[in-house]
């Protein structure tokens, strides 16, 4: 257990010191959300309707942006060889890296999301459901993303391929997240969607590290 938190702390330290970790993801999220009114035009009613979906799409893309370095840096400098040989199972290493990724990407999005919701004129009733959906859904983005990042970790330019591999897998999370926001905005109960989002994240918890670790072992050959 100690080694797990050591791994999390090390990845957090690296993300914070090398910059480009959390701050960059949030900046991207903000810009993507701000671009929507420019594209759609100054129509507050329309913006309010599409706000939950737009926030979720911006969150997906912001999450994607930081995925490619999740394993690639460690594979390139040889650290992954030593991590794979360590007593800490590779699956646990992957989970620790996902947690660090979520803490530097998903968590800051939660904090920035209310501000962006105002920009997009999201109805007041939807705020709680929207934040809850992001809180429950974004951990699954980091974990599903880890599979794509692991598959492309041995490639020089895997970034775009990661996006192509991972974005389709994000669809269920996106649909349920946007539905939760929309349901609350129209005065309906959002809890079924939130529970399903939680279920996706819980299912990812054991599955994604298994798959990502298998992909990493292939990348190290």
């Amino acid at each position: 257990m100690g080694a797990f938190w050591t791994m999390v702390r090390r990845d957090l330290a690296l993300a914070l010191r090398t910059g480009g970790g959390g701050a960059l993801g949030v900046a991207f999220f903000v810009i993507a959300a701000v671009l929507v009114p420019f594209g759609v035009g100054p129509k507050p009613d329309l913006l309010g309707v599409i706000a939950p979906g737009m926030l979720w799409i911006a969150a997906l893309l912001a999450c994607m942006l930081t995925l490619d370095r999740l394993f690639q840096a460690d594979v390139e400098d040889g650290s992954m060889d030593l991590l794979a040989l360590s007593p800490l199972p590779l699956e646990v290493t992957v989970l620790a890296k996902c947690l660090a990724h979520w803490l530097t990407t998903g968590l800051p999005l939660l904090i920035a999301a209310p501000l962006m919701a105002i920009t997009l004129n999201m109805p007041g009733e939807a705020y709680v459901a929207m934040i809850a959906s992001l809180a429950l859904g974004t951990p699954s983005l980091s974990m599903i993303g880890a599979i794509g990042a692991a598959l492309t970790s041995g490639m020089r330019r895997g970034g775009v391929l990661t996006a192509v591999l991972v974005l389709p897998l994000y669809v269920p999370t996106l649909v349920l997240g946007a539905l939760a926001g929309n349901a609350a905005a129209s005065g309906l109960d959002a809890s079924p969607y939130l529970m399903l989002l939680g279920a996706i994240t819980l299912a990812c918890l054991p599955l994604c590290p298994l798959v990502a670790a298998a992909a990493l072992r292939l990348a190290l050959r």
């Binding site: 100690g2 690296l14 390139e76 650290s79």
Partner: protein, 224 residues
């Protein structure tokens, strides 16, 4: 414990790197991998580390089989590759503390590891500010940090000065003297008295007897 490599075969990209490679190394002995570039030295080391799968054969450390119980086999070995596996953003002592915790080594080993390759003055420096040779030394100081009986060293002395190379050789010697095994691909003399030398490229499958190629058939044509 002794290391037994049995009938290893490795094919990469359609080319047989080596085949029927077998050698036994007793506790306290060293195995030096020699041979030209591309002879399969790194490949053999990565197979022994369990990072690469052999197409055939097995290696045993004591009674533990690499093929059957990879995790247990790996828990006895320490591998250092071409790459230093260090992060520019961490300091020297942070790097070693991290690896000590990941490998379950006591934290008290960190100062010992720092001293083993003469990094005392650099302990609080960021790896970013170190030279290539200093990074190499930091990577190799894991040998003094983590206590494992089987060492797999891939060109450990590349970009090291004479003094540091001598320190690495001394560490390897100590490992052998304390009953460990060192398998190293290196061109310097580690001065280990009980060292065997092996060229992986010398182990290639012999062509099967009784099968002749087309040219032989033509040449032997005037027999009838």
């Amino acid at each position: 414990m002794n290391l037994n490599i049995e009938n290893l075969r490795c094919v990469r990209a359609g080319r047989t790197v080596f085949a029927e490679l077998g050698v036994g190394v007793d506790a306290g002995e060293a195995l030096i991998l020699a041979g030209p570039n591309g002879a399969g030295k790194s490949t053999l080391l990565r197979i022994l580390a369990g990072l690469l799968r052999a197409d055939e054969g097995d290696a045993r450390f004591g009674a533990v089989s690499l093929k059957e119980d990879r995790a247990e086999f790996q828990s006895h070995l320490l591998y250092t590759g071409h790459l230093d596996a260090v992060k520019p953003a961490l300091t020297v002592s942070e790097t070693l503390t991290f690896w000590a915790q990941i490998y379950g080594a006591p934290r008290d080993n960190v100062p010992i590891a720092v001293a083993a390759l003469g990094l005392e003055k650099l302990a609080d420096h960021h790896v970013r500010t170190l030279s290539a040779g200093q990074r190499r030394r930091l990577g190799l100081s894991r040998l003094a940090l983590i206590d494992r009986p089987l060492w797999l060293l891939d060109e450990p002395t590349v970009s090291l000065d004479a003094e540091s190379s001598a320190r690495v050789a001394a560490l390897a010697r100590q490992r052998c003297e304390s009953g460990g095994i060192v398998v190293a691909a290196t061109h310097i003399d580690l001065a280990i008295p009980s060292a065997k030398t092996l060229d992986p490229a010398a182990f290639v499958a012999k062509p099967k007897e009784g099968i002749m190629n087309a040219d032989d058939l033509v040449l032997s044509g005037d027999a009838w």
